[in-house]
Amino acid sequence: MTAEAARTRSTGSSSLPRVLGPIRPRARWQELRLLLVVAAALVIGSVSLGATVTGSFAPYDPWGLGIYLAVLLGAHLAQVLAGRRTDQILLPAVAMLGGISLLLMERLPKDLVVQRFFGTSFGLAEVQLIWLVGALVVATTVGIVVRSDSWLRRYKYTWAAVGVGLLLLTFVLGSEINGQRLTLQIGPVSGQPSELLKVILVVFLAGYLSENRALLVEQDTRLGPLRLPPLPYLAPMVAMWAIALGIVVVQRDLGAALLFFGVFLALLYAATGRLSLVVIGLVLFLLGSAVMANLFEHIRTRIDIWIDPFSDPLGAGYQVIQALHAFARGGLLGMGLGGGLPEIGGQPPIPEIHTDFPLAALGEELGIVGVVAILGIYLVIIERGLRIGVAAADDYRSLLAIGLALVVGIQAFIIAAGNLKVLPLTGVTLPFISYGGSSLLANALVVGLLMALSDKGVEPPPPPSSRSRWARLARRGAG
């Protein structure tokens, strides 16, 4: 390499994103093999459902399953054609979860949800299939198209503002359903902005933490025996805490608050390694919850019901008790798809079974064996995300990937724990399995971004400029 070629002025940012690079197909055999196993499992599952319901060994909804598998194949082929060296495990894992969701929605009464699109009305399974297809399209497209992260990393405060704006919009204009103000309705379209918010949160946090990481680790304000980060850096953290509490109070969405705060603390630890910060955060959280529980009846009820649902078996505790009964009926192997969930008055025994309690339904039909497998798949998705984070080229991408993995993983944990009475029941959805378009699309966006970040042939991030904080720090010396 000549000296001229060696000289590089620090340029600051990389070139504009190349949306569609040259088509250079690359085989993805591992992904294909895994997708085949997924397809086999879903076909067998569909036959099992069909046999239970109709008495003959044929797939229950061949058209629905066929469309789903076809879209999966299409997604795989699109990725092969795009030729990026992205992760090959994420798509099959998501596909398996989505397929299980489809089977579950097919098995539940179709009139649980009726949506009218363009004059035709669609039942539960059909709507979920539409959203699943949409989710797969979003995930694949993002995974193929997103080649640079500068649009995320440079505008982090803009993104934060968008997030806060969305939040405020929901506070003010949101429609109250079941005592929770979660849904925003604009014209015919309604969605849950909190799903998108969690992605924006991670984008902002990744940027903020990667930039200020060294300072957060090194510099301290002393507050008695405590060593806190410098005061100006404490501010965003306290702001996070306040936002979380705000969500609980105004939106009555305990789950989202738990999720935001959990992701925030975990990312903070991952970035700084300082347990003291996490401990302070936890203390703040517990204090805040204690105060909230004292002030707000609905939170206190949730916690009482969590501790002893049998104290109000026909009222607030009904849902959780029915969920526990579902796991009990399932036992080790379950009752088989379609074989459980005895109806009470023509309805499934657990209210909101398609949104809040799909895990309990799967617990009854697939047994503990099935539930553990599903939990394992979530753990796999988290692990992939964390692995992508650890292998990333710089701090921002690392934290972004880690944060995205955590957002999916912690959300899955929160609702699964609520189903199993390990945590109070909250209204978050089980990613990829619960019914809900906003949830599916937002989580698909997360997986798509993870795949984009996992590209092993990615262009390097901008090298450190002489104005970089690192250089300043190196000059000042450690400590």
Partner: protein, 145 residues
Amino acid sequence: MDGFTLVLWGVRILFLALLYLFLARVVRALLRDLRAAAREPADRPGRLVVIESPGGEPAVGRSFGLDVITPLGRDVNNAIVIEDPFASAEHAVLTYRGRSWYLEDLDSTNGSYINGQPVDGVAALTYGDEVQVGQVRFRLERTRA
């Protein structure tokens, strides 16, 4: 148990088995990937070998393992301490990003050089290139795997 129920339960258990087959294959792939990553010396992707050192510190022939960011200079807090009157306290930083090496000169008094050429701000270098800080010259080499 009649025939139909027997086969039905067989199918149900087959479904659960396929779920676990999927999980097993994925976990196997994960472990393989993790083991490969561990074998890759991710935090020591290269080394600097001293080829000339008039002051004797660092010694000629000594090989420094490199991290992803390695500061060089006279100050004792540097990862590579260069005891040379022509080296500044914080002289330069060698970084490894996205499979490439970069040398950044930290506004040192006498400058840093790659293959004899002065470095203005940040410059890229590759294995085999020679780096000069003060009077000490190093060569960037791959880690002996």
